[in-house]
Symmetry: C2
Subunit: 145 residues, 2 copies
DNA sequence: CAGTATCCTTAGGGATACTG
DNA sequence: CAGTATCCCTAAGGATACTG
């Protein structure tokens, strides 16, 4: 019985850390979730087009990530037929990730400060590390100027 | 003065989330830190060769990650000249990441359970989700059978 | 407006061999 | 024993064009 146990190796594909790399810790998901959460706090939904006003992400990558986040139960997608817009909301389940994201951001923020690495001010606003300035926070990245 | 603020875009390279993707959330670092922490709890150091008994990682990738972790102040490297071995320890600073890693693992573990995704038992032992079995936990991955 | 579809680039990691 | 050095490969993301 010990033998049948021993012929197993660690399978990273079935481990929660690796799983979380797919579910949450990729290049854009923390920012997408943060953007939705930020709008939610302000009492408004997040439209598909709104992400581009905050994040230099392409449509392909955004759509991919939104689809995965929806399939994983972290966000909800609502189509408004009258004007062809689509709203995104954080689910309650998805919001259970916010404390983790906060802890990660905070650790990183302090480490960067400690090491004198410059920190992006927009991200700081989203996280309350800098006074919020609406005129900057929704300034489009594209069609700038 | 508002103008000079507005002509800035979000620079992901200077944001803590992205920074943490390099510092901590890559394929192997959570496991490396976990392995050292596990040995530390058991009162012993972690030798370079010991990682290969737990993780299917290559020497190149392990060395790379250990070097970064050391440069980032998360682990310490001690050479024992008498027998040419090298020990690795978690620094106090590095151990401040453990609560975050635990929270990430736990969220992922519960999510996988909820969705009936099989979870690797070795990782569960390292995290106390399964009774520890020393005979399995240090079974080499390489030269198996 | 909110997406697909295609093509391309690159960074991270894997395999293997070699070294002080 | 504890690493480098090379070469290779894939998966994630970027650029651009098109669509209901």
């Amino acid at each position: 019985m010990q033998q049948e146990m021993q012929d197993q190796e660690f399978n990273i594909k079935q481990d929660p850390y690796n799983y979380m790399l797919r579910v949450l810790f990729n290049r854009w998901k923390p920012y997408i979730i943060r953007a939705i959460s930020f709008d939610q706090d302000a009492g408004r939904p997040t439209y598909y087009s709104a992400f581009f006003k905050q994040l230099p992400i392409t449509q392909k990558v955004l759509s991919q990530n939104l689809k995965e986040l929806e399939q994983d139960g972290l966000i909800e997608r609502h189509v408004l037929p009258e004007n062809l817009r689509v709203e995104y909301h954080l689910t309650e389940y998805g919001s259970t990730l916010l404390p983790i994201l906060d802890a990660v951001y905070d650790w990183g923020w302090h480490d960067m400060k400690k090491k004198d690495i410059p920190i992006d001010p927009l991200g700081e606003m989203w996280h309350g590390y800098r006074k919020q300035d609406a005129s900057r926070m929704h300034q489009p990245f594209k069609n700038k100027q």
